[in-house]
């Protein structure tokens, strides 16, 4: 720990010393240990559990078999993964296309207005997910404000409600993730040199075309990372689809929970989880490959 302290003080006096290997090692010990204990070991245990022997009338016993993985070869699993991906991609597309312009306009505001927006966004993050999901349930229910207002103007049959369905799930997820994505884009956009845009303006570009042909391409990397961030978050969504969706809108997380807590089939749940991790890693690798290729072409 003292090593880390020294490193931090030395970082304050000049970043040059950070490069020294022992300082770096000292700095990385705590997070490294944390990652090993909290991520690598549980991941190993999860793989081990997914290979365990399931005892239908009981729980499970240690083993080394692929039974659980064979059970994943069902239309249900493919459907659930497909739906989770669809939900994640749709959520990411909406979130990023709302958050990016929002963050851009916030960075172009006066300092005080920017601070007010940031405080507002951070404040909304302090609301618990559970609260938000149930607030959506109330809002969209038969007796809720929104359904009431819509049926008052004749857009909705009386007594109808706006959930459970796919749009309800999607809109709640977008609401939950939007502040994160705006806050994610904010630093990058606020560091964007205003002279770049001024240069574009002096060459006769409108604000809109500056945004689309200068700002957007410069931020392509950040946008892609933002999309992936939302995809990863949304893929594991649990509470929102459970409360606001019907069973066809249940994500893989709900099916994992059903397998583990409903059937007591923890090995199957572990196999589901391993499959999700593999799928996500493959997705990230594919994205990286594609973006590299595009980078090379450009």
């Amino acid at each position: 720990m003292t090593t880390a302290d020294v490193a931090i003080t030395s970082q304050a006096s000049g970043t040059r010393r950070i490069g020294e290997p022992w300082v770096l090692a000292g700095l990385l010990t705590a997070p490294g240990l944390y990652i090993i204990i909290m991520a690598v070991v549980p991941a190993f245990l999860m793989v081990q559990l997914s290979l365990a022997h399931r005892e239908v009338g009981g729980l499970w016993s240690p083993g080394f078999e692929l039974t659980q993985y064979r059970q994943l070869a069902t239309p249900l699993f493919a459907r659930v993964m497909g739906f989770s991906l669809l939900l994640a991609v749709a959520g990411a597309a909406i979130c990023v296309s709302l958050a990016f312009p929002a963050a851009y306009f916030i960075t172009r505001m006066k300092r005080r207005a920017q601070v007010a927006w940031l405080v507002f966004l951070l404040g909304s993050l302090s609301l618990s997910e559970v609260l938000i999901v149930f607030a959506f349930q109330v809002l969209l229910s038969t007796s809720g404000t929104l359904a009431g207002a819509l049926s008052a103007v004749g857009l909705l049959a009386p007594g109808a409600s706006l959930y459970p369905n796919f749009p309800a799930v999607l809109s709640c997820l977008v609401y939950l993730l939007l502040p994160y994505v705006i806050l994610y884009f904010y630093p990058a956009l606020s560091q964007l040199d205003p002279e770049v845009e001024q240069a574009a303006a002096t060459m006769g570009a409108s604000r809109f075309s500056t945004f689309t042909s200068v700002v957007l391409p410069m931020m392509r990397g950040q946008i892609l990372t933002g999309v992936l961030l939302v995809v990863i978050f949304t893929f594991g969504a649990y509470l929102t689809p459970l409360v606001l969706g019907r069973p066809p809108q249940w994500t893989v997380a709900i099916h994992i929970s059903n397998a583990a807590m409903g059937a007591g089939n923890v090995p199957l749940a572990a196999a589901y989880a391993v499959a999700v991790v593999v799928f996500m890693v493959a997705l990230l690798a594919l994205t990286r490959l594609l973006s590299r290729r595009r980078g090379a072409e450009a």
């Binding site: 009981g58 249900l76 149930f134 249940w250 007591g264």
Partner: protein
């Protein structure tokens, strides 16, 4: 209100505010209980005592307030009552605590599936039937035996039955077939637990009864019939709190629910009707289980013997709105209580053998049917 789920199914999962609160309360209670177990409390104050846990909410409260004091009076054994959450987390925690020799309670209530899982994990100590003379009061179907002895003794029953809002559903349905009726689109909240009571309801209504669930073909046939419920079902509930909220705020017009919780809701002013369909309600029950690390074996036997007396079972009916398990002729219930806790039609017993043999298939087929 019933704040915790009692079926061996899924624990409250954040679905429904009350269900969730139940989970949080239950989880923290279990945590406290585990901590208490570790500190070795239980004998504080001297004298004989017994730590007993039961499903939190109504159940635990009624037992603590109305039944345990009589036991203490009769035997001098003080009961330390604590709420327990249902579901797998509780069982897994208990298995670990028991392995470490520190169980948080001496007796707990378990749904049949958890009795079975606990048996497989070597969690429960067997009882000495000779030391529980009142076992004679209990029908054999409420006892769980293993080759080495008696592992669990029925504690309290519960019905899954039809509950309707009489304003929306009129006249009162007479049969479970109403759940499939074409005119009831989006009307119901049904039990969504993977291997839950909808199997028994379907098997008894459209087939020869729950025996069919002992075969894979029977399970598939039953699920195919259940698919017909999808257009009529607005909510597939897993935690009872979710269904309670939906019934109270009119999101559903009725469905399948616990008769005792519905009675409690009616007593607190909800406009609901408990219907016992002609095919019968589904009956399930919890059993008293004795973790092997507990040292209070003597007291546990005395406790179970007391709980099987007609006196205690009458109170289960009148205070918990739950069906007593001992032979009906031993009970002295007044007509209002009797009407609440006994079904005029023969109840459909939950087919435990089917769960023992085919639990995973039942859950898988059910999930597939729901998700497609």
């Amino acid at each position: 209100m019933g704040t915790t789920d009692r079926r061996g199914g899924k624990a409250p999962s954040g679905q429904g505010l009350i269900g969730r609160r139940g989970l949080l309360l239950g989880a923290s209670a279990a945590g406290l209980a585990l901590a208490a177990g570790c500190s070795g409390s239980g004998d504080a104050g001297g004298g004989r005592s017994l730590r007993v846990s039961s499903y939190g909410g109504n159940f635990e409260q009624a037992l603590r307030d109305h039944i345990y004091p009589l036991f203490t009076e009769a035997t001098g054994i003080r009961v330390e009552s604590m709420p327990q959450p249902a579901g797998l987390q509780f069982l897994l925690q208990l298995i670990e605590a028991n392995k470490a020799g520190q169980t948080p309670m001496d007796l707990c209530i378990s749904a049949p599936v958890d009795v079975m899982r606990g048996n497989a994990a070597g969690l429960w100590r067997t009882y000495d039937a000779d030391r529980i003379p009142n076992l004679a009061n209990l029908p054999d179907s409420y006892l769980t035996r293993r080759p080495d002895g008696l592992a669990a003794v029925g504690a309290v029953g519960w019905y899954f039955t039809m509950v309707t809002n009489p304003q929306a559903i009129s006249p009162t349905p007479a049969s479970w077939t109403e759940l499939w009726a074409p005119g009831r689109r989006n009307a119901w909240g049904l039990a969504g637990t993977g291997a839950g009571p909808m199997y028994e309801v379907t098997a008894a209504t459209y087939f020869d009864g729950p025996e069919m669930l002992n075969t894979e073909a029977g399970i598939r046939a039953c699920v195919a019939k259940m698919a017909g419920l999808k257009p009529n079902t607005r909510l597939w509930w897993e935690s009872e709190g979710t269904m309670q909220t939906a019934l109270e705020n009119g999101e559903v017009q009725g469905g399948v629910y616990f008769a005792d919780v519905a009675e409690t809701l009616i007593q607190s002013g909800a406009n609901l009707e408990v219907v016992f369909p002609r095919e019968g309600p589904v009956i399930d029950f919890g059993s008293w289980c004795h973790p092997s690390a507990s040292t209070k074996t003597e007291e546990a036997h005395e406790f179970i013997n007391f709980m099987l007396t007609p006196q205690a079972q009458n109170l289960i009916a009148s205070r918990m709105n739950a069906p007593p398990l001992i032979r009906p002729e031993l009970l002295t219930l007044d007509d209002t209580v009797r009407a609440k806790v006994t079904s005029p039609t023969t109840p459909i017993a939950t087919n435990l053998e089917a769960r023992r043999l085919h639990m995973d298939l039942m859950v898988q087929e059910f999930s597939q049917m729901l998700a497609s």
